[in-house]
Amino acid sequence: MNTSIGLVFFVGAIGLTAIGIAGMVLSNHLFRMVLALAIAEAGANLLLILAGFRWDAVAPILSNSEVAQSMVDPVPQAMVLTAIVIGVGVQALALSLVIRVRQRYGTLDMQEARQRMQDDLDAAAGVTPSRSRQQPAGERLLPVPDATVETGGRHD
Protein backbone atom coordinates (compact mmCIF):
# COMPACT_ATOMS: atom_id res chain seq x y z
CA MET A 1 0.00 0.00 0.00
CA ASN A 2 2.61 2.50 1.10
CA THR A 3 5.05 1.71 -1.66
CA SER A 4 2.33 1.82 -4.30
CA ILE A 5 1.34 5.37 -3.25
CA GLY A 6 4.97 6.37 -3.40
CA LEU A 7 5.21 4.83 -6.85
CA VAL A 8 2.23 6.89 -8.01
CA PHE A 9 3.80 10.10 -6.68
CA PHE A 10 7.17 9.42 -8.25
CA VAL A 11 5.65 8.42 -11.58
CA GLY A 12 3.62 11.63 -11.52
CA ALA A 13 6.63 13.82 -10.80
CA ILE A 14 8.88 12.15 -13.38
CA GLY A 15 6.04 12.12 -15.89
CA LEU A 16 5.45 15.86 -15.46
CA THR A 17 9.13 16.53 -16.06
CA ALA A 18 9.17 14.28 -19.14
CA ILE A 19 6.00 15.85 -20.56
CA GLY A 20 7.42 19.32 -20.03
CA ILE A 21 10.73 18.54 -21.72
CA ALA A 22 8.97 16.79 -24.62
CA GLY A 23 6.70 19.79 -25.05
CA MET A 24 9.65 22.17 -25.01
CA VAL A 25 11.55 20.24 -27.68
CA LEU A 26 8.74 19.06 -29.92
CA SER A 27 6.50 22.11 -29.90
CA ASN A 28 6.90 24.79 -32.53
CA HIS A 29 4.72 27.32 -30.75
CA LEU A 30 6.71 29.73 -28.59
CA PHE A 31 4.07 30.29 -25.94
CA ARG A 32 3.47 26.56 -25.59
CA MET A 33 7.20 26.14 -25.04
CA VAL A 34 6.99 28.54 -22.10
CA LEU A 35 4.04 26.59 -20.70
CA ALA A 36 5.96 23.33 -21.14
CA LEU A 37 8.86 24.87 -19.22
CA ALA A 38 6.45 25.62 -16.36
CA ILE A 39 5.21 22.00 -16.39
CA ALA A 40 8.77 20.64 -16.31
CA GLU A 41 9.56 22.94 -13.37
CA ALA A 42 6.49 21.70 -11.52
CA GLY A 43 7.64 18.12 -11.98
CA ALA A 44 11.14 18.88 -10.72
CA ASN A 45 9.75 20.73 -7.69
CA LEU A 46 7.41 17.86 -6.90
CA LEU A 47 10.35 15.44 -7.06
CA LEU A 48 12.29 17.58 -4.58
CA ILE A 49 9.35 17.84 -2.19
CA LEU A 50 8.83 14.07 -2.35
CA ALA A 51 12.44 13.54 -1.30
CA GLY A 52 11.66 15.16 2.06
CA PHE A 53 8.35 13.41 2.69
CA ARG A 54 7.87 11.45 5.88
CA TRP A 55 4.97 9.26 6.90
CA ASP A 56 2.65 10.52 9.67
CA ALA A 57 4.50 13.82 9.85
CA VAL A 58 3.20 17.36 10.08
CA ALA A 59 4.27 20.54 8.32
CA PRO A 60 7.62 21.84 9.64
CA ILE A 61 6.14 24.47 11.93
CA LEU A 62 6.88 24.27 15.62
CA SER A 63 4.09 24.78 18.11
CA ASN A 64 3.99 25.35 21.82
CA SER A 65 2.63 21.92 22.59
CA GLU A 66 5.01 19.66 24.45
CA VAL A 67 4.21 16.60 22.36
CA ALA A 68 7.11 16.14 19.98
CA GLN A 69 5.71 15.34 16.57
CA SER A 70 7.71 14.13 13.64
CA MET A 71 7.95 16.70 10.87
CA VAL A 72 8.73 16.55 7.18
CA ASP A 73 12.17 17.70 6.13
CA PRO A 74 12.19 21.52 5.87
CA VAL A 75 15.30 21.77 3.68
CA PRO A 76 13.72 20.53 0.40
CA GLN A 77 10.76 22.82 1.03
CA ALA A 78 13.07 25.83 1.37
CA MET A 79 14.87 24.80 -1.83
CA VAL A 80 11.57 24.46 -3.68
CA LEU A 81 10.53 27.91 -2.44
CA THR A 82 13.70 29.22 -4.02
CA ALA A 83 13.11 27.23 -7.21
CA ILE A 84 9.53 28.48 -7.60
CA VAL A 85 10.56 32.13 -7.32
CA ILE A 86 13.39 31.67 -9.80
CA GLY A 87 10.99 29.83 -12.10
CA VAL A 88 8.61 32.78 -12.01
CA GLY A 89 11.44 35.12 -12.97
CA VAL A 90 12.56 32.89 -15.83
CA GLN A 91 9.03 32.55 -17.16
CA ALA A 92 8.44 36.29 -17.01
CA LEU A 93 11.66 36.90 -18.95
CA ALA A 94 10.73 34.23 -21.51
CA LEU A 95 7.27 35.74 -21.90
CA SER A 96 8.68 39.20 -22.49
CA LEU A 97 10.96 37.78 -25.19
CA VAL A 98 7.95 36.00 -26.75
CA ILE A 99 6.01 39.28 -26.74
CA ARG A 100 8.89 41.00 -28.51
CA VAL A 101 9.08 38.25 -31.14
CA ARG A 102 5.35 38.57 -31.74
CA GLN A 103 5.62 42.33 -32.12
CA ARG A 104 8.55 42.12 -34.52
CA TYR A 105 7.59 39.17 -36.69
CA GLY A 106 3.86 38.86 -36.10
CA THR A 107 3.96 35.14 -35.47
CA LEU A 108 4.50 32.75 -32.61
CA ASP A 109 5.51 29.82 -34.80
CA MET A 110 9.17 29.12 -34.18
CA GLN A 111 10.11 28.02 -37.71
CA GLU A 112 8.44 31.01 -39.29
CA ALA A 113 9.89 33.47 -36.81
CA ARG A 114 13.34 31.97 -37.32
CA GLN A 115 13.02 32.23 -41.10
CA ARG A 116 11.94 35.87 -40.94
CA MET A 117 14.73 36.59 -38.50
CA GLN A 118 17.21 35.02 -40.94
CA ASP A 119 15.76 37.10 -43.78
CA ASP A 120 16.17 40.22 -41.68
CA LEU A 121 19.75 39.32 -40.89
CA ASP A 122 20.52 38.64 -44.55
CA ALA A 123 18.91 41.87 -45.62
CA ALA A 124 20.85 43.82 -43.02
CA ALA A 125 24.13 42.17 -44.06
CA GLY A 126 23.34 42.67 -47.75
CA VAL A 127 23.87 39.06 -48.80
CA THR A 128 21.66 36.75 -50.80
CA PRO A 129 19.88 34.27 -48.55
CA SER A 130 21.90 31.09 -48.69
CA ARG A 131 18.90 28.81 -48.26
CA SER A 132 16.97 30.30 -51.16
CA ARG A 133 15.19 27.71 -53.32
CA GLN A 134 15.48 29.84 -56.44
CA GLN A 135 19.24 29.99 -56.09
CA PRO A 136 20.66 26.76 -54.74
CA ALA A 137 23.90 26.94 -52.88
CA GLY A 138 26.07 25.82 -55.85
CA GLU A 139 24.87 28.55 -58.21
CA ARG A 140 25.15 31.53 -55.98
CA LEU A 141 26.67 34.67 -57.40
CA LEU A 142 30.24 35.01 -56.34
CA PRO A 143 31.11 38.26 -54.64
CA VAL A 144 32.23 40.78 -57.27
CA PRO A 145 35.96 41.51 -56.90
CA ASP A 146 36.62 45.01 -55.81
CA ALA A 147 37.96 46.93 -58.82
CA THR A 148 40.07 49.38 -56.86
CA VAL A 149 42.16 46.61 -55.39
CA GLU A 150 43.21 45.28 -58.78
CA THR A 151 43.87 48.63 -60.39
CA GLY A 152 45.64 50.03 -57.39
CA GLY A 153 49.13 49.27 -58.77
CA ARG A 154 48.83 51.38 -61.95
CA HIS A 155 48.32 54.67 -60.27
CA ASP A 156 51.72 56.18 -60.63
Binding site: V25, L26, P60, V72, P74, Q77, A92
Partner: protein, 228 residues
Amino acid sequence: MRSLATVLFLGGLVFLLAVLTETLSFGNPPMLVGDAIQRTAVNDVGAANLVTAVVLGYRGLDTLGELSILFAAATAGGLVLGAARAGSRQRPGGFILCAGADLLFPLLLVVGLYIVMHGHLTPGGGFQGGVVLAAAFFLPLLARPTETLSHTWLSVVEGMAGTAFIAIGMLALFRGEAFLAPLFDKGVFGELVSSGSLPLLYLAVGLKVGSELASLLSRLASDDEMTS
Protein backbone atom coordinates in the same frame (compact mmCIF):
# COMPACT_ATOMS: atom_id res chain seq x y z
CA MET B 1 15.20 13.20 -36.44
CA ARG B 2 14.49 15.67 -33.72
CA SER B 3 11.65 13.55 -32.36
CA LEU B 4 13.87 10.48 -32.33
CA ALA B 5 16.56 12.31 -30.38
CA THR B 6 13.91 13.64 -28.01
CA VAL B 7 12.48 10.20 -27.38
CA LEU B 8 15.94 8.79 -26.73
CA PHE B 9 16.85 11.64 -24.37
CA LEU B 10 13.55 11.42 -22.53
CA GLY B 11 13.85 7.67 -22.16
CA GLY B 12 17.30 8.06 -20.69
CA LEU B 13 16.18 10.83 -18.34
CA VAL B 14 13.15 8.91 -17.10
CA PHE B 15 15.26 5.81 -16.59
CA LEU B 16 17.88 7.79 -14.67
CA LEU B 17 15.28 9.47 -12.43
CA ALA B 18 13.46 6.18 -11.90
CA VAL B 19 16.67 4.48 -10.78
CA LEU B 20 17.44 7.42 -8.50
CA THR B 21 14.01 7.39 -6.88
CA GLU B 22 14.13 3.62 -6.57
CA THR B 23 17.06 3.96 -4.19
CA LEU B 24 15.09 6.37 -2.01
CA SER B 25 12.79 4.78 0.49
CA PHE B 26 9.62 6.79 0.15
CA GLY B 27 8.46 8.31 3.43
CA ASN B 28 11.78 7.90 5.25
CA PRO B 29 14.03 10.70 4.07
CA PRO B 30 17.69 9.76 4.38
CA MET B 31 18.84 13.34 5.02
CA LEU B 32 20.04 14.03 8.53
CA VAL B 33 20.18 17.80 8.10
CA GLY B 34 16.42 18.15 8.49
CA ASP B 35 16.38 16.36 11.84
CA ALA B 36 19.31 18.40 13.11
CA ILE B 37 17.58 21.64 12.07
CA GLN B 38 14.38 20.56 13.82
CA ARG B 39 16.30 20.06 17.03
CA THR B 40 18.42 23.19 17.02
CA ALA B 41 16.40 25.78 15.10
CA VAL B 42 14.52 27.08 18.15
CA ASN B 43 17.74 27.98 19.93
CA ASP B 44 19.62 29.08 16.82
CA VAL B 45 17.02 31.17 15.04
CA GLY B 46 13.88 31.23 17.17
CA ALA B 47 11.39 31.01 14.31
CA ALA B 48 8.41 28.71 14.58
CA ASN B 49 8.29 28.17 10.83
CA LEU B 50 11.26 25.94 10.13
CA VAL B 51 11.20 26.71 6.41
CA THR B 52 11.74 30.38 7.29
CA ALA B 53 14.53 29.36 9.63
CA VAL B 54 16.21 27.53 6.74
CA VAL B 55 15.55 30.23 4.14
CA LEU B 56 16.68 33.22 6.19
CA GLY B 57 18.66 31.77 9.06
CA TYR B 58 20.73 28.90 7.75
CA ARG B 59 20.78 29.73 4.06
CA GLY B 60 20.45 33.52 4.03
CA LEU B 61 23.17 33.95 1.43
CA ASP B 62 21.25 31.60 -0.84
CA THR B 63 18.20 33.82 -0.47
CA LEU B 64 20.27 36.85 -1.37
CA GLY B 65 21.38 35.05 -4.53
CA GLU B 66 17.77 34.20 -5.28
CA LEU B 67 16.80 37.85 -4.88
CA SER B 68 19.54 38.89 -7.26
CA ILE B 69 18.37 36.33 -9.84
CA LEU B 70 14.85 37.73 -9.57
CA PHE B 71 16.25 41.24 -9.86
CA ALA B 72 18.22 40.25 -12.96
CA ALA B 73 15.12 38.67 -14.50
CA ALA B 74 13.01 41.75 -13.78
CA THR B 75 15.71 44.06 -15.13
CA ALA B 76 16.13 41.98 -18.27
CA GLY B 77 12.37 41.91 -18.75
CA GLY B 78 12.25 45.69 -18.48
CA LEU B 79 15.17 45.95 -20.88
CA VAL B 80 13.51 43.71 -23.45
CA LEU B 81 10.10 45.30 -23.21
CA GLY B 82 11.31 48.88 -22.93
CA ALA B 83 9.64 51.69 -21.05
CA ALA B 84 5.95 51.30 -20.34
CA ARG B 85 3.91 53.44 -22.68
CA ALA B 86 1.18 55.65 -21.33
CA GLY B 87 -2.07 56.15 -23.15
CA SER B 88 -3.50 52.73 -23.76
CA ARG B 89 -6.01 52.17 -26.50
CA GLN B 90 -7.99 49.71 -24.42
CA ARG B 91 -11.22 50.81 -22.89
CA PRO B 92 -11.51 50.67 -19.10
CA GLY B 93 -13.38 47.72 -17.66
CA GLY B 94 -17.01 47.90 -16.71
CA PHE B 95 -18.46 49.08 -13.41
CA ILE B 96 -18.32 45.66 -11.78
CA LEU B 97 -14.68 45.11 -12.68
CA CYS B 98 -13.64 48.56 -11.44
CA ALA B 99 -15.64 48.30 -8.21
CA GLY B 100 -14.34 44.79 -7.62
CA ALA B 101 -10.76 45.91 -8.10
CA ASP B 102 -11.28 48.85 -5.72
CA LEU B 103 -12.87 46.53 -3.17
CA LEU B 104 -10.15 43.89 -3.43
CA PHE B 105 -7.21 46.30 -3.32
CA PRO B 106 -7.20 47.01 0.47
CA LEU B 107 -8.05 43.39 1.28
CA LEU B 108 -5.17 42.09 -0.83
CA LEU B 109 -2.87 44.67 0.72
CA VAL B 110 -3.79 43.54 4.24
CA VAL B 111 -3.52 39.84 3.38
CA GLY B 112 -0.17 40.35 1.67
CA LEU B 113 1.29 42.30 4.58
CA TYR B 114 -0.12 39.74 7.03
CA ILE B 115 1.55 36.90 5.16
CA VAL B 116 4.81 38.83 5.03
CA MET B 117 4.82 39.81 8.70
CA HIS B 118 3.85 36.35 9.98
CA GLY B 119 6.37 34.56 7.83
CA HIS B 120 8.36 33.37 10.83
CA LEU B 121 5.29 31.96 12.61
CA THR B 122 2.90 30.56 10.02
CA PRO B 123 3.18 29.17 6.50
CA GLY B 124 4.03 32.07 4.26
CA GLY B 125 6.69 34.69 4.17
CA GLY B 126 8.21 37.37 2.04
CA PHE B 127 8.00 35.61 -1.31
CA GLN B 128 4.40 34.49 -1.00
CA GLY B 129 3.21 37.74 0.55
CA GLY B 130 5.18 39.74 -2.00
CA VAL B 131 3.31 38.02 -4.82
CA VAL B 132 0.00 38.90 -3.14
CA LEU B 133 1.15 42.52 -2.82
CA ALA B 134 2.07 42.57 -6.51
CA ALA B 135 -1.38 41.21 -7.34
CA ALA B 136 -2.93 43.97 -5.21
CA PHE B 137 -1.20 46.64 -7.25
CA PHE B 138 -1.75 44.90 -10.57
CA LEU B 139 -5.49 44.35 -10.16
CA PRO B 140 -6.54 48.04 -10.50
CA LEU B 141 -4.37 48.13 -13.62
CA LEU B 142 -6.42 45.33 -15.16
CA ALA B 143 -9.64 47.20 -14.42
CA ARG B 144 -8.37 50.54 -15.75
CA PRO B 145 -5.77 49.90 -18.47
CA THR B 146 -5.35 53.63 -19.11
CA GLU B 147 -3.58 54.16 -15.80
CA THR B 148 0.01 53.15 -15.26
CA LEU B 149 2.03 52.30 -12.21
CA SER B 150 4.77 54.72 -11.25
CA HIS B 151 7.90 52.81 -12.11
CA THR B 152 10.02 55.44 -10.35
CA TRP B 153 8.39 54.69 -7.02
CA LEU B 154 8.51 50.97 -7.64
CA SER B 155 12.24 51.06 -8.30
CA VAL B 156 12.78 53.27 -5.24
CA VAL B 157 10.92 50.77 -3.02
CA GLU B 158 12.77 47.85 -4.64
CA GLY B 159 16.16 49.47 -4.19
CA MET B 160 15.50 50.44 -0.59
CA ALA B 161 14.31 46.91 0.25
CA GLY B 162 17.35 45.33 -1.35
CA THR B 163 19.64 47.74 0.46
CA ALA B 164 17.92 47.00 3.77
CA PHE B 165 18.38 43.25 3.27
CA ILE B 166 22.10 43.64 2.60
CA ALA B 167 22.47 46.21 5.40
CA ILE B 168 21.04 43.80 7.97
CA GLY B 169 23.45 41.17 6.72
CA MET B 170 26.37 43.58 6.95
CA LEU B 171 25.31 44.57 10.48
CA ALA B 172 25.76 40.96 11.54
CA LEU B 173 29.13 40.99 9.84
CA PHE B 174 30.24 44.07 11.79
CA ARG B 175 29.18 42.45 15.05
CA GLY B 176 31.63 39.67 14.44
CA GLU B 177 29.18 37.07 13.21
CA ALA B 178 28.63 35.51 9.83
CA PHE B 179 26.97 37.47 7.02
CA LEU B 180 23.17 37.50 7.51
CA ALA B 181 23.42 35.69 10.83
CA PRO B 182 20.28 36.17 12.97
CA LEU B 183 20.57 39.34 15.01
CA PHE B 184 18.92 40.83 18.08
CA ASP B 185 17.02 39.16 20.87
CA LYS B 186 15.10 36.00 20.03
CA GLY B 187 12.11 37.18 22.09
CA VAL B 188 9.29 34.98 23.24
CA PHE B 189 8.73 31.96 21.02
CA GLY B 190 5.56 32.36 18.95
CA GLU B 191 5.13 36.12 19.43
CA LEU B 192 4.82 38.42 16.42
CA VAL B 193 7.90 40.42 17.43
CA SER B 194 10.33 37.60 17.96
CA SER B 195 13.17 35.68 16.36
CA GLY B 196 15.38 38.71 15.99
CA SER B 197 15.95 40.19 12.56
CA LEU B 198 13.96 37.59 10.61
CA PRO B 199 10.71 39.63 10.31
CA LEU B 200 12.73 42.62 9.10
CA LEU B 201 14.49 40.49 6.51
CA TYR B 202 11.21 39.02 5.33
CA LEU B 203 9.64 42.48 5.14
CA ALA B 204 12.50 43.58 2.89
CA VAL B 205 12.09 40.43 0.78
CA GLY B 206 8.34 40.95 0.51
CA LEU B 207 8.62 44.59 -0.58
CA LYS B 208 11.34 43.74 -3.08
CA VAL B 209 9.50 40.79 -4.62
CA GLY B 210 6.22 42.72 -4.66
CA SER B 211 7.62 45.79 -6.40
CA GLU B 212 9.62 43.73 -8.89
CA LEU B 213 6.68 41.56 -9.87
CA ALA B 214 4.30 44.53 -10.03
CA SER B 215 6.58 46.43 -12.40
CA LEU B 216 7.18 43.32 -14.50
CA LEU B 217 3.45 42.54 -14.72
CA SER B 218 2.55 46.10 -15.65
CA ARG B 219 5.22 46.12 -18.35
CA LEU B 220 3.97 42.82 -19.74
CA ALA B 221 0.39 44.06 -19.75
CA SER B 222 1.14 47.43 -21.34
CA ASP B 223 3.29 45.84 -24.02
CA ASP B 224 0.97 42.97 -24.71
CA GLU B 225 -1.92 45.23 -25.59
CA MET B 226 0.08 46.98 -28.29
CA THR B 227 0.19 43.83 -30.36
CA SER B 228 -3.47 42.95 -30.08
